[in-house]
């Protein structure tokens, strides 16, 4: 009875993995009150997608896309012999973007902590309200 389910998991393991990771990320972003944990959740969310797109380029038994004898092996000319490099290259750009986003977010967290002395969202909301009332 379990066989179809296991077959599905094995044939779609990259899709299943990214959805599980994505849900973990979403949970951290919505369920955690610590802002750093929210940021980590956001990172997990981004990386899950990057992982998925990289997995799209994977191919069993294929080699690197260099025409003349990659790694000293035979020349690869046929499409089924080499891995499509484009998803990886695209995700390299996405990783750089992710690093930049994380950097900006961490800088913001630093300034929030300097000003309000906390990174817990509930405490932060109280202090924001207090400073608004003080004006």
């Amino acid at each position: 009875m379990l066989d179809p389910a296991i077959d599905f998991l094995i044939s779609h393991f990259n899709g299943v993995t990214y959805i599980v990771l994505m849900m973990i990320g979403l949970h951290a972003m919505t369920g955690k009150s610590n802002l750093v944990k929210k940021l980590v959740g956001m990172n997990i969310f981004q990386w899950s997608i990057i992982l998925f797109v990289v997995s799209l380029g994977a191919k069993r038994g294929a080699t690197i896309p260099i025409v003349l004898g990659g790694h000293g092996g035979p020349a690869v000319i046929e499409a089924h012999q080499y891995v499509n490099p484009l998803p990886h290259v695209l995700m390299l750009t996405a990783i750089v973007v992710g690093v930049a986003t994380t950097g900006v977010a961490l800088a913001l967290l630093l300034r929030i902590h300097r000003r309000y002395g906390t990174l817990e969202e509930d405490v932060l909301i109280d202090r924001l309200r207090a400073s608004r009332n003080a004006e």
């Binding site: 997608i49 797109v53 929030i112 309000y116 924001l128």
Partner: protein, 510 residues
């Protein structure tokens, strides 16, 4: 009207991009050169977009192959009629806000102008890139450039703005990640990223589950970027806590470019046959737009802070634009796109006015604005023009886009939507009317107020951009026919109800 090559689209993006890289170095040893450099870059960009728009109007769409690599391998930039209008709008608004920002930045965030302008130009490069590129992944990169820079610009406001910016980072990144996922799915089934190429390959794959998933993630991701209800949570804080010039810049541009991308992908990469008939996404979008129109306006009425009120009004106006896109007929789409242009001008103008008021009086509460028409007559007058246009009073541009929207709703047989458009306009009358009433009514208790100079108008470098935008509101209203016939008619895809008919045959259209 064949597609032809032109190097100007890339100049629009390259001028602000390269200048922004040079700014930190220049600002290090010659601070006074920074602002003229910024203006020069923005002017070059505007000039290039005028050249491109004239070229597009005369000879049809233009394209540019980045690095000489032809699509589908290389990155293509393509500017069609809608893109040309979008670039004109973006460069016009960013230049006006740029001129305005000098005084305002000096007062609000002194000593930070080098970093502010570096990021400002990067944002302009990102937005114009989003409007000009014809490559899905390149669009993602420009989307992230414009998002990252807007997080940074908002946080320059300091204090609460940093918290608002952090919320925007989290939500904005989720939106961009959904977009990336959608690009990944599209690539996995088509093997291409070029929009024209995708449009050729996709019709054979409309039954595929991956295409459906890609489309769904695209719509969700872009809706977050567009702040469509219920994904608008980041917008009010981000708009109201940012420095004045930044509020005007971001309110006028970022959500509009996202709406433009939605139209472009929904109707030109996919066909109306798919996005209207095969899945009910346009119906869903219309209803979300309608809810946004009502709830955004109700929330705007509840605000006591002028900038916060304008921010919630933006949520409602995005609703109008999305309703127009979702009506899926020629008149509705024309109305939605015209409202996109109008709203960029009107909301940019209103945020500039809010900034000018803060600059001279440090007042943000609406109830404190009594007698403003005496203190700052020009500013109050400009506010009145933009506010009347937002409500939809005839000679101003807001009236015409709402008229097209109503025509579109009637054509679609959705009388309920007609009622909502009128009701939401009545709500706009309530909250904008309230502000105008405070500005123009004489002070009730003159003894209580501290003695202020009777007349204290904003400096002319701030007043001139505000006046330019106000003039644009009037001119776009009077010459809406030219915009509709020149640009928007070509933006209605074949296969949409009423395509090919002269949608703009209104009495007032020149």
């Amino acid at each position: 009207m064949n597609i032809h090559q032109s190097p100007f689209p890339i100049l629009i993006i390259a001028a602000p991009l390269l200048t922004s890289f040079a700014l930190p170095v220049v600002g290090w040893w010659w601070r006074r050169a920074v602002f003229p450099l910024v203006l020069a870059a923005l002017t070059i960009s505007l000039g290039a977009s005028v050249v491109v728009a004239r070229d597009v109007l005369a000879n049809g769409p233009v394209q540019y192959f980045m690095g000489g690599w032809e699509p589908p391998w290389g990155i293509e930039f393509r500017v069609d009629h809608l893109g040309a209008l979008m670039l004109l709008l973006l460069n016009f608004v960013t230049l006006a806000v740029g001129i305005y920002s000098k005084q305002s930045v000096l007062k609000e965030i002194p000593e930070r102008e080098v970093s502010l302008y570096t990021v400002y130009l990067l944002l302009v490069a990102g937005l114009t890139g989003m409007a000009a590129t014809a490559d899905m992944f390149n669009l993602y990169v420009f989307l992230e450039i414009s998002s990252l820079t807007s997080y940074a610009l908002i946080s320059i406001g300091g204090g609460q703005a940093v918290v608002s910016a952090f919320r925007y980072v989290i939500l904005g990144t989720v939106g961009a990640a959904f977009y990336l996922l959608s690009v990944g799915y599209l690539y996995s089934v088509t093997g291409t990223l070029n929009m024209a190429d995708l449009a050729n390959i996709l019709p054979g794959l409309y039954g595929s589950g991956a295409v459906l998933v890609a489309f769904a993630f695209f719509v969700i991701g872009i809706s977050i970027k567009m702040a469509l209800f219920p994904m608008h949570a980041w917008l009010p804080g981000a708009y109201s806590d940012a420095p004045s010039a930044v509020s005007a810049l971001i309110a006028a541009t970022t959500t509009k470019v996202a709406a433009y991308v939605l139209v472009r992908v929904m109707y030109f990469v996919f066909e109306p046959r798919f996005s209207v008939e095969m899945i009910p996404v346009t119906t869903l979008l219309s209803w979300m737009g309608v809810i946004a129109m009502i709830l955004g306006s109700v929330m705007a009425i509840a605000q006591s802070d002028l900038k916060r009120m304008l921010a919630y009004s933006s949520v409602a106006q995005i609703g109008y634009i999305v309703l127009g896109i979702g009506l899926a007929n020629a008149a509705g789409l024309t109305g939605g796109l015209l409202h996109l242009v109008n709203h960029a001008l009107m909301k940019g103008c209103l945020f500039l006015v809010a900034g000018a008021i803060v600059y001279r009086t440090s007042l943000r509460e609406i109830k404190d604005l009594r007698n403003l028409s005496v203190k700052m007559p020009w500013t109050a007058g400009i506010f009145a023009i933009a506010a009347l246009s937002m409500i939809g009073i005839p000679p101003f541009c807001g009236f015409f886009s709402k008229l097209y929207l109503i025509m579109g709703a009637v054509e679609a047989g959705q009388w309920f939507f007609v009622g909502v458009i009128l009701f939401s306009s009545a709500l706009a009358l309530a909250y904008f009317g309230n502000v105008i009433r405070y500005m123009y009514l004489p002070k009730e208790a003159p003894d209580e107020a501290p003695s202020m100079p009777v007349r204290n108008e904003a400096p002319w470098t701030m007043l001139a951009p505000m006046l330019t935008l106000a003039a644009a509101i009037v001119l776009v209203g009077l010459f809406n026919g030219a915009i509709v016939h020149g640009f928007l008619e070509h933006a209605v895809p074949a296969g949409l109800a009423g395509a090919g008919s002269r949608a703009g045959l209104l009495g007032l259209g020149w």
